[in-house]
């Protein structure tokens, strides 16, 4: 392997690792605030990627009907709750929150799909569709059992993964999609070639890391999410509703999943079932930080991406085996140095 190939693999690995890092950060966020190991996060990525690809070829992405269905179900649940609790004042707000935004995005999608809108608009609509799915999924699938055990929540997350994968096949078919890079350019530095798309992906990671740092460190909603992660009872007695924190965490995670999707589909062919591996590799990154540390999750995820890049070069048939096996010692080390806690006892 010469230096050029080494650098190419490194660049590719870092770019893929940056995507895993974005997702790993949201995995940590969701896990710490809701105790859900949300493996179906990968499906947000594939949904966004395939929606973006559908819009590029002028098709109305069928996933909008899933968005509409979930919006109606969530609104029905909320209205039923409001009527049972005689809390009629909350009904207009519920309708606004659960129905207006999703159906506005659905209408926008149907309108722009055949127009051949600019790529950035298509990307924004794809991200918007997936972002709105996040809190709806939390409301319907997790909120009713939000105080359940970690195990129960994990099983629901797995079930959701399979349900979403089925919807993915139904809406997008078995064919894979890949789109042109958003920025089709490259720079030569000496004998090395740096792709603009890779810079865009790593830049996005840097931007989101900075934004999340500001959000968690300097805003009340960000601090409220951290507080919920640190102490759920403490959060409740200052008036932070765990379900509100859950919906906010899912909104963020779906948004970042959506952004990752439109970025990744220009460097890799994405199929309806690509989400599982993407999600699991993000889990690897997230557990590098013990599911609690954001910086460790980012570093671990970049490591996963680099390992994947070099693994594919040396033994492409064994890429996944190499990546996942390499984390067995990490898991062993983490489990040996961890101390049992209440949550651990529950598991």
């Amino acid at each position: 392997m010469d230096f050029q190939i080494f650098f190419f693999l490194l660049e590719d690995g870092i770019a893929n690792g940056a995507i895993y890092a974005l997702l790993a950060v949201t995995m940590v966020l969701v896990f710490t605030t809701t105790r859900i190991l949300f493996v179906a996060q990968g499906e947000f990525v594939t949904f966004s990627a395939l929606t973006f690809a559908s819009l590029q070829i002028g098709l109305v992405p069928q996933i909008i009907w899933l968005l509409g269905l979930l919006a109606v179900i969530a609104a029905a649940i909320e209205i039923y709750r409001a009527v049972s609790d005689k809390d009629f004042k909350s009904i207009p707000g519920t309708v606004g929150l659960y129905l207006v935004a999703p159906f506005a995005v659905i209408a926008l999608t149907i309108w722009i799909a055949p127009l051949g809108a600019p790529m950035l608009v298509q990307a924004a609509v794809s991200v918007a569709i997936v972002t709105l799915l996040g809190p709806l999924v939390y409301r319907i699938a997790f909120q009713p059992v939000s105080s359940g055990s970690v195990r129960l929540l994990f099983v629901i997350a797995i079930a959701l993964h399979f349900v979403f994968q089925g919807f993915g096949l139904l809406f997008f078919g078995a064919e894979g999609f890949r789109v042109d890079p958003m920025i089709d350019a490259s720079f030569e530095v000496g004998s090395l070639i740096i792709k603009a798309q890779a810079i865009l992906i790593v830049g996005t990671l840097a931007l989101f890391t900075a934004l999340l740092y500001v959000f968690f460190g300097y805003t009340i909603p960000g601090k409220a999410l951290r507080a919920t992660a640190v102490n759920r009872v403490g959060a409740r007695i200052v008036g932070i509703k765990p379900d509100l924190a859950g919906k906010l965490a899912f909104l963020l995670t779906a948004f970042i999943g959506g952004v990752s999707g439109v970025l990744i589909v220009s460097s890799t062919t994405i199929y309806y079932d690509s989400g599982l591996l993407i999600g699991l590799k993000s889990v690897l990154g997230a557990i590098s930080g013990g599911m609690v540390s954001y910086p460790a999750a980012i570093i671990g995820s970049i490591g996963v991406g680099i390992l994947e890049g070099f693994g594919a070069f040396w033994a492409s048939a064994f890429t996944e085996a190499i990546v996942f096996s390499a984390f067995i010692p990490v898991l062993l080390w983490l489990s040996l140095r961890s101390t049992p806690n209440e949550e651990g006892h529950e598991l």
Binding site: K223, R226, A227, V230, A235, I237, V238, I240, K241
Partner: protein, 241 residues
Amino acid sequence: MIALEAKDLKVGYGKADVLDGVNVKVDEGAIVSLVGPNGAGKTTLLLALTGLLPARGTVSYFGEPMANVSVEDRVARGLCLVPERRELFGDLSVSDNLELGGFSRWMRGERQLRESLEEVFERFPRLRERQDKDASTLSGGERQMLALGRALMAAPRLLLLDEPSLGLAPLIVREIFHIISRLRDNGVSLLVVEQNARAALEVSDYAYVLENGRVSMEGAASDLIDNPRVIDTYLGRRQAY
């Protein structure tokens, strides 16, 4: 006006009732204390009043039934708990903890939390000195001050305090009870659960003795403090706190 009234409150873990038909009342602007042995159900009562534990019976807060009101919405109405375990956000700074104490006000669109923060710092100067430190690094007394300060950030109308003096040095206990008296003077109603019965009764207007999940005695705190049975069981010889 009655700040809080609980009627025939029952809470059961499994088959056994920890609270077996408790009736308590807190008048607006009063300090009411709740004394009793370990396991009498005092903490359970406070958790039931805040909605953290499901209970049968009725709870009304300033005349409004609380049956369908969540813990968080009770906090938004000014019914706040300072629990025995303090439940601070250990990884967050003192000022972040305090700021989050005003979360329900922030949600209502109030943005003057800075003024409330200043008031808390004036009340607890020690917290101002430690404002950038993580809550997990505080001493026991500082943690109690932070827990109280955090609850005050919610602008409470009724504060439920669970064992405010637990594990604290006598001088700090005196300071905490001094602050409790001042809160009443500022119009906050208080329901205080306290092992240190003498300290609690000395600042209280009214008191309940809870034994085996039932109210066994109640009356003006000044009467109970002279009641022979209360003296024998909970006060003992007079001692400084």
